[in-house]
Amino acid sequence: MIGIFLGAFLTVITAWSLGRVVLRGLRVKFCRLEEDLFALSAGSACLSLLVFGLCSLHQARKGVFTVAFVVAAGAALWRRAIRPAAERLPRVPWLWLGAFLVPFSIYAIVYFFNTLAPDSSPEGSSHNLGNVVGWWRDRGFAPDTRSMYASPPQGMEMLFLFAFSFGKHSAATLVHFAFLCALPWMMLCYGRRFGMVRPCVLGAILVFLSPVAGATGTSAYSAAAMACTLFGVFYIVQIWAENRNDRLLVLTGLLAGFGFALGAGLSGVSYCIFFVSWKLLREDKSALALRALAILAACAAVSMTPWMATHWLLASSPSPVPISKQLPILWSLSGASVGGLFGPWLLLTPLGLVALRWKQGRRLLFAAGLFGLAFFENNSTWMLLPFAVCAALALGLAVERSPGVLPALLLLHSLVSWPRAVAAYADPHAWRIEGMPLRAAKRSNPEDQYLRSRVDGYSMARAIDQMTPKNARVLTLVQIPQAYTTRRVWNAAESAKGALAMQSIPSAYQPAARPTWEMRFRLALQPVRALRVVTSDRKNALWTVNEMRLYRAGVEIPRQSSWRVSAKPNARYAPRAFDNSDVTAWSTWEAVEPGMYLEEDFGEAIQVDTVGLMCSPQDPRPSLRVDGLGADGLWHTLSGGPEIVERLPPPGLRRAAVEELKALGFDYIVARRDIGPGLDMHRNLFSWGITLVQDIGGTCLYHLD
């Protein structure tokens, strides 16, 4: 327990101290409390950068982090940066302070004990802390092909790593909890500064008590930090609009860039650039606008640069997000399959449009609109938290003048957000807080036992740690929480290597998935320097080829090592269609477009009269033709559609699949023994060439022999 609190405390204090030093260095003046909240945000951006640097140098060690804490706190003391500001924000009337403090305190206690309980959140226990565990094991960054979630900006995970080094998983979640608690206070400060206390009390409570805020804020996510940071950007820009102190733009840029590092994309940067340009250009101050934009861009780049390369070079393009009319209901009342819910109040946000009558309302709604664009990339409820912060304040403004509405909304929301009340209207599978796990939080219920009962695959994760060597590479066909094993675990959904491995398994044991069809294209016997099988139409399906073979007079032309193979798209995987294996394949991995091809280049002219493509009968077949590169250096169409010939694949494909998994670098595989490939593995261990290492309730760990 001490480690947990120590880890969270050292992280938050280091961040806060760094932030204080930055604010002191910039000589910007904020009011009391306000400056602490901005110091936490700005310092977190700095600490995140520092940990990134240490990870790059493989110096992510407890001792180094301790030194960082001492230096940051020492610098803050030495620069006298911790002296509280003299200026205070206007007082909150007692009644409204009570209306804020009572629900805040009650829910904060519930959230606190949920935070202290071992993290069993879906993404916290898989990617977010899984990556942290990997960096901690490697003392920094190491090449990681394990998951696409290892590449996106992970500014928050850098803070998690700092805390994790002292107190493991719960210390990291406590750091996120600090941001969850800071958010409503920042909203209240905003209300005090800009004379809209009552709307801000309502907005702060609406957001803080929302089930999704409780669920994510008490887990190792970045949603609350993202909301806090983006609202900080909005807040500081509004201060700048009043006093035009360009030093504030430095802080704004730093926070906007940190928003990118937290996974908010460019919404923070876009917001401040739009707002500042609009204000200055409207006043015909284009030179000042350019200067301001330069400051914003440069400071944002400081936080963004470390993650930009990994984000754009390694991350795949986002898949289109399904958008349905049901989303508002899912986000507000159901929470099913979108990762949580806000509660009924979200359905009232259109009322916030009434606030367009006032300048503050227009600014809040513009920010809400921009921050809300995130849902086009990810329709998870928690991604809307930054939107919800601004929308809740606009809603507060809209209803402020209607007598009794504000207190009624406060009271109703406080009641319907209580975990038991949420259970009455939310989907049973919606992610939310279900109670107050006191025993788990105090560890009187052992952590291991708690996690075994709540996290699918936890027991197997622990078994993997116990039964496999430290450098073991595990392919899993079931869910394994990466955060609870130090071994690297791949699955098909998150990595190219996992997907390639999974391509081999069905063709090894499923009769329908075997390449029992050969598409034969007959050509007039002629010399060609290269051959391509080309798609000639559009099809909303993948095109997959297990093997491409060439024949002359009914006999296969032996492949020569000098031949070159290529493809469009996925040229790097083209060799998988020429490796003499029926369990590997080249695939477009995307919907077929005209002009996609698989190519074999012979370097010199050879005589060919038949081209054969081996494929599974269940694979969709696009319209194909064969083009040849003639002696004239031009491509000519040599054949139209193919004929289908049944073929008998070679025997022993199970063993071949396991050899393929080993070639991909895997040593172990985890599968359920009662379903799918795991059932076949369980029945035919010898044919697969695997050995059962551990069976936990039907989930089996096998060694690839």
Partner: protein
């Protein structure tokens, strides 16, 4: 051109073998080989299997099998004769109980591209099992081609 992978097992990419303990081995049996995965399976009157192989120079057929003691007691030495796509390939005389490996080169023109080679491996004399009257030959374990 990438490295060529073995079709079945081991490190030899120039071989294709049917192992009768494999759960999919039945797909390659045409007739007269007892069903079910087992290390060795009984051959009956005219045991025939099909093995996918391309015509290639240096092609060889190989088969591992064993002569069981019980039939041997009654039949004495047996001869196992192999035909590929109807062409007599050769035979092996088995004069003791135990494991045997038959190996013989195959003219490439006997097999056809895109068609599985049909292999007939008959033994004589056959032994008649006293309980069900089945005509049993030998226990076949593995058969295939190497090139």
């Amino acid at each position: 051109m990438p490295a060529q992978k073995p079709a079945l097992r081991g490190s030899d990419p120039h071989a294709v073998f049917l192992t009768f303990s494999d759960p999919d081995a039945d797909e390659y049996i045409v007739r007269d080989i007892s069903p079910g995965p087992a290390q060795g399976r009984w051959t009956l009157d005219h045991p025939e299997m099909k093995i996918p192989v391309e015509p290639r120079p240096g092609l060889r057929f190989e088969m591992s099998f064993s002569i069981h003691a019980m039939p041997f007691r009654d039949t004495g030495p047996v001869t196992v004769a192999v035909k590929i796509n109807g062409h007599p390939l050769g035979s092996i005389y088995c004069d003791h109980v135990g494991d045997y490996r038959f190996t013989h080169s195959v003219p490439p023109e006997w097999v056809h591209s895109g068609e599985a080679a049909h292999v007939l491996a008959e033994s004589s004399p056959l032994w008649t099992a006293p309980d069900d009257g089945a005509h049993l030959g030998f226990l076949i374990e593995e058969a295939g081609f190497r090139w």
